[in-house]
Symmetry: C2
Subunit: 154 residues, 2 copies
């Protein structure tokens, strides 16, 4: 299966940029999830994806919903699980009594601390493969692309 049917750019060319982006993304995600599982944290994908979006100072549910492009209820239920597993806590938002901030607990912080070296190692492996200069170019291009593709830039 070299060419995809659905979204290949054209018959003769290789994969479209979308899938080309997805492949390494998925690899990074898998590496992190595997490392977490190894450390005894069995985080399902949906929980990981929401967790990842929590800002260090805490995030509101609606923010998380927007960032992960899921309805509030869905994110609510995912946060319930994260909370039950002790990774996050909901605290009242001091600036708005309707809202609550989803914050990372010390146990949740463990997840971050396990992930970080894996992310760094994966990036290092990529850098070793691509070379320093191209890695910088890649990151720059992606950061630039974010300007026109991120529906949720604060």
């Amino acid at each position: 299966m070299c060419k995809t049917a659905g979204v290949s750019t054209d018959d003769a060319s290789p994969l479209n940029l979308g899938l080309l982006l997805f492949i390494p993304y998925r690899a990074m995600e898998t590496a992190v999830l595997d490392a977490l599982a190894e450390a005894g944290h069995d985080l399902p994908l949906n929980q990981a994806r929401v967790f990842q979006r929590i800002a260090p100072e805490g995030s509101r549910l609606a923010q998380l919903a927007q960032a992960s492009q899921l309805p509030k209820q869905t994110v609510g239920s995912i946060v319930d699980h994260l909370e039950r597993s002790g990774y996050v806590r909901r605290i009242p938002d001091p600036t708005d009594a309707r809202a609550r901030l989803v914050t990372i607990t010390p146990r949740g912080q463990e997840l971050v601390e396990i992930s970080l070296p894996v992310v760094r190692a994966t990036e290092a492996a990529w850098r070793a493969h691509l070379g320093e200069q191209r890695t910088v170019l890649l990151r720059d291009a992606l950061a630039d692309l974010r300007e026109i593709t991120d529906p949720f830039r604060p």
Copy 2:
């Protein structure tokens, strides 16, 4: 939410490469799905992701399962839906009587034909934003990265 908690490369730096890859990927996916919905094809994400992996000459279930990193049963059920909606058909694999090939029907081909210009337009928008040269570098870097990150290269 500027920095993500889970996987930021380091406190001062911007997003990690993983999320940086994901953002444009998701944008592309959304653009395609929106266009399909507009044309009356309400394809859920999971179906779209599997459909996208079907090779023009047809793919086996096990291949699709491996490529999308889902169990056979899950992919089987997704293919059931695609089949019920008339986008794909299962035909016997002439080379192996146990296997069947999931192939794209004319109606499924419509999906491809709707997606293609959207993919091209999105890529063109990105090119306009990044410039010709950086786009080429981006694609090259990603294609290279695929060599070490694609668990399923034929």
